[in-house]
Symmetry: C2
Subunit: 374 residues, 2 copies
């Protein structure tokens, strides 16, 4: 049987890694970016379009799909892949993050999280077992155990308790999932304290998950703090497992975190920014409603070969956006995901050719994370 | 030089006609339905998708494009086709209808219509000449002269005045457009009175337009009144010109009006209904948010071979719609336009085979215009 994850190469001059994740629904070349299909659709796009942008896996949100349309319905539909017409791998999260950020009146206990739906106020108990049960009904290839993710910064004591409970829940999740299809990752927590992170890593490692996720980052702390923590954590992480940095996916963060040894990313930004009129371009983020684009008949990003940049002008995209046309959301979301697909493919190529540091330098010299005009 | 319109066939047992309109940007087989791309986009769809549904021509609204992004901008972009990436024929209306229905404070005089933009309140004078000037800048293949369209019913006297002014404006439009690219249609008015319609027809006919539009119908009157009027008017209309029934396009109206001799239709319904969760199906209109579709894993319309019906279930479409996902608007709009494309293609085939009456009867027996559940 083929290995779930194969580390193909470690780049010579950085911590960057090239790998491949194999699943029954296809392989994922890493480093990889996962577009987010929260409610069983990557917003504004068809599955075919998402695949065209280079995505080999998407992330769907257990919390949303559990509440609507419901995991049993999706199971009866033949699973999430069939329901949403996406034949490639899917990673599902545990629902824990959304329970904290979206649900009403969530109440934490050792058993799980009691919460009220943000849709209809109905009461639900999300336990580690329940989360896995739901993910199994969805039928995802990669699953996440319920964990405790605190906002940064929080008190040391709280992180400590949270990471311990995260370990106990990880063990319960693993036990529940034992022998069933789909690969369950472990998640390490510990907030912004390296010693807690290392403690979490060692506890989670004992449970022998085939993949490791790093949670609780990009939730309030400065980016430099996140990078420092990753620099401290990653050298301790076994090399033979994929490393997934949850919820991180701004282009500049990806390039930096790849250099530190991260393999998997997800983020709603490409589609959310797209719907709000912001495009990723070679020079950085561009707000298409800027008045200077009113009569700009050049492509959105002249260096991009995507469908949008081949067929439409900035002036037209601006017109669509200021006229609140759905096509604006579609075209900008598509372009942004294509940008991510290309970025990841360029990253992998640079790793292959042992020139990741040059790639990183060139990227950092040209790409500006803050929104600018061209 | 090829004729602009060629009448290929008159169906044996009805008034239905088969024809072809030839333009520099391609031919249009008639009877034809024109999707509406109000602001330079058929809402929620790409031009490629619109073409896939079988549309050979679309309608764009002069009023909207004149106000935003502006006709001069579109001209500098290389014309509307290039601006919006639609390489096939475009018909533009005069803007008069929208000035009456959307603009603020519109004031009518012999010169034209003074109005305030619904977008920014700015003051504009739309004259027959201005309307043609704008349409020429857009670069459409088929243009409409500014006319006076009254709501039905209105007083006889008012219709009479309106049709006379419509004739005078038609003459001014024709004079202004003389010798320039694009084909200008005449529009007949006269409200719900057959004698006024015949009078309008004879006045407009004197101006020798290459195509005839019938305006001022489907604006308040019962459908039976519209059909009766068309039965009275159409036998008087020269056979060698295409006949365009403006703003009419519900499937049942199309089938009926084709039987009376109409060649061209346009309507916002397929896309507007789609965005609002209603689908055209073989059995009639279906509201996808109906609870009975919650676990219905069959295609939207089992008899349809479009992308949506081949790849998604009613349950999924309902989920997208109740979750307010953009993809719902996309998929239902696409399906509805595909339904229209197929309807028109079936109509043309039935005319070719001299079995239009059978087609009409079968359609009327199975298709219900009112929204129903399957």
């Amino acid at each position: 049987m083929e290995k779930f994850f194969e580390l193909l190469k470690e780049e010579k001059n950085s911590g960057a890694r090239l790998g491949i994740i194999r699943t029954p629904r296809g392989a994922i070349e890493t480093p990889a970016f996962m577009p987010v299909g929260t409610q069983g659709t990557v917003k504004a796009l068809t599955p075919e379009e998402v695949a065209q942008t280079g995505a080999q896996i998407i992330l769907c949100n257990t919390y949303h799909l559990y509440l609507r349309p419901g995991a049993d319905l999706i199971k009866r539909a033949g699973g999430l892949h069939k329901f949403m017409n996406w034949p490639y791998p899917i990673l599902t999260d545990s629902g824990g993050f959304q329970v904290n950020s979206l649900a009403h009146l969530s109440k934490l206990s050792e058993e799980g999280v009691l919460f009220r739906s943000h849709i209809d106020g109905s009461l639900h108990l999300l336990t580690p077992e329940k989360s896995i049960e739901v993910q199994e009904k969805l039928g995802s290839e990669i699953m996440m155990p319920l964990d405790i993710c605190l906002p940064n910064p929080s008190p040391y004591k709280k992180y400590e308790e949270a990471l311990k409970r995260t370990t106990r829940w990880a063990a319960r999740s693993k036990q529940y999932h034992e022998g069933k299809p789909g690969v369950l990752f472990g998640i390490i927590q510990g907030g912004i304290y390296l010693d807690l992170r290392i403690k979490s890593l060692s506890e989670i490692e004992e449970l022998e998950f085939p993949g490791l996720a790093i949670g609780g980052l990009s939730v309030g702390e400065e980016k430099e703090i996140m990078y420092e923590l990753l620099e401290g954590i990653l050298p301790q992480v076994p090399k033979d497992k994929p490393r997934y940095l949850m919820g991180v996916g701004a282009p500049s963060s990806i390039v930096k975190c790849v250099s530190l040894g991260i393999d998997l990313f997800d983020c709603v930004l490409p589609t959310r920014l797209g719907r709000n009129g912001t495009a990723y371009c070679a020079s950085g983020k561009v707000n298409i409603d800027n008045a200077r684009f009113r009569e700009d008949f050049s492509p959105l990003d002249p260096s991009c070969d995507c469908y949008v940049c081949q067929n439409y002008t900035r002036a037209y995209l601006r017109h669509l956006f200021v006229s609140r046309e759905i096509l604006a959301a579609r075209l900008l979301s598509y372009h942004n995901l294509y940008f991510m697909g290309k970025l990841m493919s360029n990253i992998r190529q640079a790793i292959k050719e042992d020139r990741f540091l040059e790639f990183q330098k060139e990227f950092e010299d040209t790409y500006r994370e803050r929104s600018i005009s061209l």
